[in-house]
Assembly symmetry: C2
Homo-oligomer: 366 residues x 2
DNA sequence: AATTAGCACTCAAAAAAGGGGGTTGACAAA
DNA sequence: TTTGTCAACCCCCTTTTTTGAGTGCTAATT
């Protein structure tokens, strides 16, 4: 993979490439040979650097927006930078602590971990943060309960083993005897605990159709609940926060890019799909941290943006992803370690609620 | 209040003022006398119009950004426009239907009404939409239930009479017998149904301290639940969606304004406070639809933005607000009727779940 | 063979220099 | 009170000039 010859590479070519990337990320201006000569490599003349940069251009790492006026990194350069040049540094202990604290106070403060995590990501990265929970249909049921709300109305509450809670109101049209409701709930829980939503639905359908006695008279309710479980539920799976942050750290040049990006992200489906694909991809290759640079995303809307994401596991099951999306010219080293770290925080937070002794049968609920 | 003399006003001055506002909203360019003369008032010469516009300027309705080159409306003009000139037109029946449909399918599709409503507002207005739920502490409890999650962990579920559902995990540290949990739940519900959260907390505290038998041994749990109820919960009260929309319909000139606005909105607290104040203000003056134009907001971040909002009632109690926030030069007539309409939709949707026969005692839950 | 100095050339960005078009204020006439 | 007219204004757009950093190339140097 390492394309550049070791000797030259290590000593100069790589150094120059790294410098161009860093400089460009910092200043957002094409980098020229003089600048490098004077600030990074005082012992080498600008002419030499020009030669090297010409080589780098030929190899596809640099690119001149105009015949003269400095060069800027290509996607390939960023990729190389991320893969070989950016030392995936651990974050300073002090910073870790600071973040950890912020995380704890936020995540415990509010029931919705996902939103808070996205927000924290955004705040710390200066880009937009997201948390994506993988397809709910594949998650496993921990409990499905019903709370009588009012005559003719019941609140269904679904808890998955990955700790997500989903609730929705169900209209039955008629009032259900609360005792029977509890019986139903108990029955259902015995049947479906630990199954995926999809499986659970199948089982329940069978029972509804076979007119199981515990369900008798409540077929309506059961049917409705099933229908609601079935829904793609696209929306609640994806949390994106911090457009403001992103805007903040963006110059007017990127206005159009941002517009496009937002349009894309606000079509939740497309962004969800992207993340879903990415997730399975990462699962296959057993990758933990992923960086997708510009056109690597294969979506024209994202050609000037990068996504840094990490898979989020509970036990050995990938349950979601989280990360940030921001301009291609971002501080990869910092952001990568940040995403990495917050990912681990969320994981341990999830673990807290789910990796408890496998949901022991407390079916003496009666 | 009506400052302009009726005769002149009705016939010309107002007409010109209205025309300037509408034209400016449409084109975003200063409006000159010729334009008005040729397109709006062909029977009047441009010189006359100049005179009138000079008056309007003197009275503070118009303002010249440059010594020549047309005039643009001041905040005062927008205010006048909104108050007297914009006929608060009903929306076309067809459009109403269309929206109603969209609303139904979205709101029923997903458990989170608030987010969906915000999104719909954004989509239809082209600005950012928000829904704000007023201070949870004042909302009334419908139910508080517990679902055993795992040994040592319980999920608390709170349903308010305005239909909001809040849930959070509680760690007890030790496993609670589910039967006793149910007893507790029943006991609590008997005690606090219909009270405000604040009241409920007070009552519960008393019981915890007096060591009521139903609570015995579960003081830990109760205490934790109380603590969680007590939290300001600032975050879950405010939903803002559609920055993308807003960006979309914004020219590069407003970039800075937008940045400021987003910064402001993403500091949830400040925006919440603003809305909270606005809400009490509206409640006092018994106002239904409110429009705050530019500097009327008394926040420099919003000096170029307007907020159109409506109070949202369940029964006769104001439970929240919803509306849109967008550039000062928006189509007020359209947006106002839109906000109005969607407000009524949300209201009736809430009513559906809450104004049912006053939550009959189904305490035979046992 | 690699490096360097020097030179002519290129081109984007910034500054300067025109018009054009629409607007205004003023004033005199209707 | 309204209107016609006109000089002056000034934003906006386009064109031109200037400037400065950067490049490629070649010949000289190490």
């Amino acid at each position: 993979m390492r394309i550049l010859k070791p000797e030259v590479a290590k000593s100069r070519k790589e150094k120059i490439l790294r410098w161009v990337v860093q400089q460009y990320v910092e200043t957002r201006r094409p980098v020229g040979s003089q600048m490098i000569a004077s600030e990074a490599l005082p012992d080498v003349s600008s002419a030499t650097i020009r030669n090297i940069m010409a080589e780098l251009e030929e190899e596809g790492y640099l690119y001149q927006p105009h015949t003269s006026g400095g060069r800027i990194p290509t996607d390939k350069a960023y990729r190389y930078y991320v893969d070989y040049l950016a030392n995936v540094q651990k974050m300073a202990a002090k910073e870790r602590e600071r973040i950890e604290e912020a995380y704890d106070s936020r995540v415990n403060e509010v029931d919705n971990m996902m939103v808070q995590t996205s927000r924290l990501l955004a705040m710390l990265s200066g880009a937009a943060g997201f948390v994506y929970t993988s397809n709910v249909q594949e998650q496993r049921v921990q409990r499905l309960d019903f709370i009588p709300l009012a005559p003719g109305a019941v609140l269904a509450i679904l808890v998955t083993q990955s700790g997500a809670v989903r609730h929705w109101p169900v209209r039955t049209g008629y009032t259900i005897n609360p005792t029977r409701l509890r019986v139903l709930s108990r029955f259902i829980n015995e049947e479906i605990e630990g199954l995926t939503l999809a499986q659970a639905r199948r089982i329940l359908w069978q029972h509804v159709h076979s007119g199981h006695q515990e369900i008798a008279g409540m077929a309506d309710l059961a049917t409705q609940v099933l229908k609601d479980m079935e829904r793609p539920q696209t929306d609640n799976e994806l949390y994106v926060e911090g457009f403001g942050q992103l805007l903040e750290n963006t110059s007017e040049d990127d206005f159009e890019d941002l517009k496009q990006m937002m349009r894309f992200v606000e079509e939740r489906d497309r962004f969800s799909n992207l993340l879903s694909e990415k997730m399975t991809g990462m699962e296959k290759s057993n990758q933990k941290l992923n960086v997708s640079i510009g056109s690597e995303n294969e979506l024209k809307e994202l050609k000037n943006l990068s996504i840094v994401s990490t898979a989020c596991k509970v036990g050995d099951k990938t349950v979601g992803m989280l990360g940030i999306i921001g301009p291609k010219h971002m501080e990869y080293t910092r952001v990568m370690s940040l995403v990495n770290f917050i990912g681990s925080l969320l994981e341990s937070s999830l673990q807290n609620w789910t990796a408890l002794p496998p949901a022991e049968k407390d079916d003496d609920y009666e």
